[in-house]
């Protein structure tokens, strides 16, 4: 069976694609492992570690790693240096290095200026590894469809980075957000289903849902006032604090956008299928059929949002719980933003069902009747 399978692959020309892809993946990994010459900062590869206990006085046990490493770039290329690293048993603010890790080091100007220090782990190889496994698995299971999905991911990332330039300038934030949403929505849906009527239906439904959710959000914001943005993560160094309102709002919408699009596209596809199979389908049957599909995805989608928002914050909340922060305090200061994201996104999912149902039926049914 294995041989037969391989022969089939060979006939389809798939085997060539697979081999080329594998070579590219391995090439990327090898390159990222040996790209030290591209960096200005000094990079060293850890060759041996000797660990001993270190008495730091804190409750958590602390260890000292005496590290030997070889410099990989710059004018000291090839030299061996000694490094010291402290880590605690919890790895909360520190890191435990292993042999083979590459680290950024700051070298002293001269012998008297002290010893070399580790400034950070070189993570690009591991990032590349995770991305390559992801790409390989997605491509292997979906072939052509997956390529489009990945293409839309890349487009969206480019869009996001492009938008940063505008956001940084602090002007027209609302305009940039609106454009960003429009482009995200149109490009992702085009990549997902191509130039078809259902794509248009899904785009209109998504945009209508996003608009209604935004209005709702701003009305509530006006009634109840701003959340305390200074408690939010990644705000410490930002100077454009006047725009947190809009920036956070954009974040909230982006977070729910994927789920809303998912609902819209599923509903549009279902209606399209029902109408194609039976162009004279009674309205009631159409509504019922759409309802069944959408409620199936509603529950799971809300669940997906819940898990992706909250799981990310748990480790830090855990640290606070251990330090005797109360649940009420954490509830008040540390997860309100996650809650707002989750609730707004979920409201979007629920609203998307009737909205995309109505739009899909009115647009697709007419065509079916002609």
């Amino acid at each position: 069976m294995g041989v037969k399978f391989a022969k089939e692959l060979y006939k389809n020309g798939k085997i060539a694609v697979i081999i080329v892809t594998m070579i590219i993946f391995i090439g990327v990994l090898l390159f990222s492992k040996n790209d030290a010459f591209l960096y200005h900062d000094t990079i060293a590869k850890i060759t041996s570690i000797h660990t001993e206990k270190y008495d730091g006085g804190a409750l958590a046990k602390t260890y000292q790693q005496n590290i030997k490493a070889v410099i990989l770039n710059g004018d000291k290329n090839g030299q061996t240096i000694k490094l010291i690293n402290l880590y605690s048993q919890s790895y909360t603010v520190d890191e435990k290095f292993v042999v083979g890790n590459q680290v950024f080091v700051s070298l002293p100007e001269n012998k008297q200026a002290g010893r070399a220090k580790i400034t950070g782990l070189k993570r690009d190889t591991y990032l590349a590894l995770a991305i390559m496994i992801f790409l390989a698995v997605v491509l292997a299971t979906t072939s052509k469809k997956g390529v489009y999905a990945l293409f839309s991911l890349v487009l969206n990332i480019v869009l996001l980075f492009a938008s940063l330039f505008f956001f940084e300038k602090n002007t027209h934030i609302l305009l940039v957000s609106v454009c960003l949403m429009l482009l995200f929505c149109i490009l992702s849906l085009l990549c997902a289903t191509g130039f078809k009527k259902i794509t248009m239906v899904a785009i209109i439904a998504t945009l209508a849902t996003v608009t209604i959710v935004s209005l709702l959000y701003f009305v509530l914001l006006n009634i109840f006032g701003d959340p305390e943005y200074f408690m939010m993560e990644y705000t410490e160094y930002l100077s454009n604090t006047n725009y947190f309102n809009l920036l956070f709002f954009t974040e909230v919408l982006i977070g729910g956008l994927g789920a809303i699009m998912d609902v819209a596209i599923s509903v549009a596809t279902t209606v399209d299928e029902l109408v194609t199979v039976n162009p004279d389908i009674p309205m009631d049957d159409l509504y019922d059929g759409t309802k069944n599909v959408s409620y199936d995805i509603m529950g799971t989608m809300i669940n997906v949002l819940f898990l992706s928002y909250f799981c990310g914050t748990i480790p830090l909340i855990l640290i606070k719980l251990i330090n005797n922060y109360g649940f009420t305090e954490i509830f008040k200061f540390h997860i309100p933003f996650e809650l707002i994201r989750f609730l707004t996104g979920s409201i979007g999912i629920v609203l998307a069902i009737p909205i995309s149902g109505t739009i899909a039926i009115s647009l697709l049914k007419k065509k079916g009747g002609k």
Binding site: D41, A58, S88, S90, Y91, T92, V93, V98, L121, R123, D124, Y126, L127, F134, V137, V138, A140, T141, T142, G146, Y148, A149, S152, L153, I157, L164, E168, L216, I223, Y234, T235, E236, Y237, L247, F248, E251, I254, G258, D262, Y295, M298, M301, N303, V304, F306, L307, F310, C311, I314, P315, L316, I319, K320, I322, N323, L339, I340, L343, I347, V350
Partner: protein, 251 residues
Amino acid sequence: MILALAVIFLILVVLIGGDRGVRSLLALVMNIVVFFVDIIALKHGMNAYVMTLITIILMSITVLFFQNGYNLKTRATFLSILLVTFTVFIIAVIIAAFSQISGYNELNMYEDEASMLAGSVTINMTAAAIAMVIVGISGAVIDVAIAVSSAVYEVSHKNPHLDEKKLFASGMRMGGNILGTTINTLFFAGIGESLLLFLEMKELHYSLGQLINSKALFQMIFPILMSGIGCALIVPMSAWIMGTFVRKYQS
């Protein structure tokens, strides 16, 4: 504001979703309870990996058996979910062993006065981080698993003469169709939190080198990638297991 949002959310779910809406709310509440128990157990130093396994099993049970009933279809789905989460877990542990994904990153380290808090933490934060990544992916993985299993089950029901290979192929087709949108959903939910992160990095003039080696970036992307891997792996896994189950059961 949060309360208002919550009330609107509840009203909408009940109004639009009706019976089914209430049932998915109940499942959500059960998941939240499981989640809380998990956190409290972790806080008291329970092994994070054991707790992850228990959490995943409980969450799958609520979603599968509570929402969809205990039958051949859900049993097959349950098995494939366990196998796939275990595989992703292994991948995550291996990558995390080298890449240090735990605790505070270079940007949020100073916001929480992290170093003051760290001294009294005696649990392994790497394990906790991996545990949360795995629990986090379970939602999407369960979602895809149910879709694929249902499709294979339906196809085999309507065409009792299809062999396992054909069933597998139809499951793969179905899975391929939804995988794209699922990855899209995960991607947007993941990067939704990153706008401020990226702006802060720009404010600090991160170079490309700093960006791709950043712990903050890695902590953000890692869960998205692991979810994607899980969702992609569950497609062939549940198509295969469902196909085999259906044919075994019939003969």
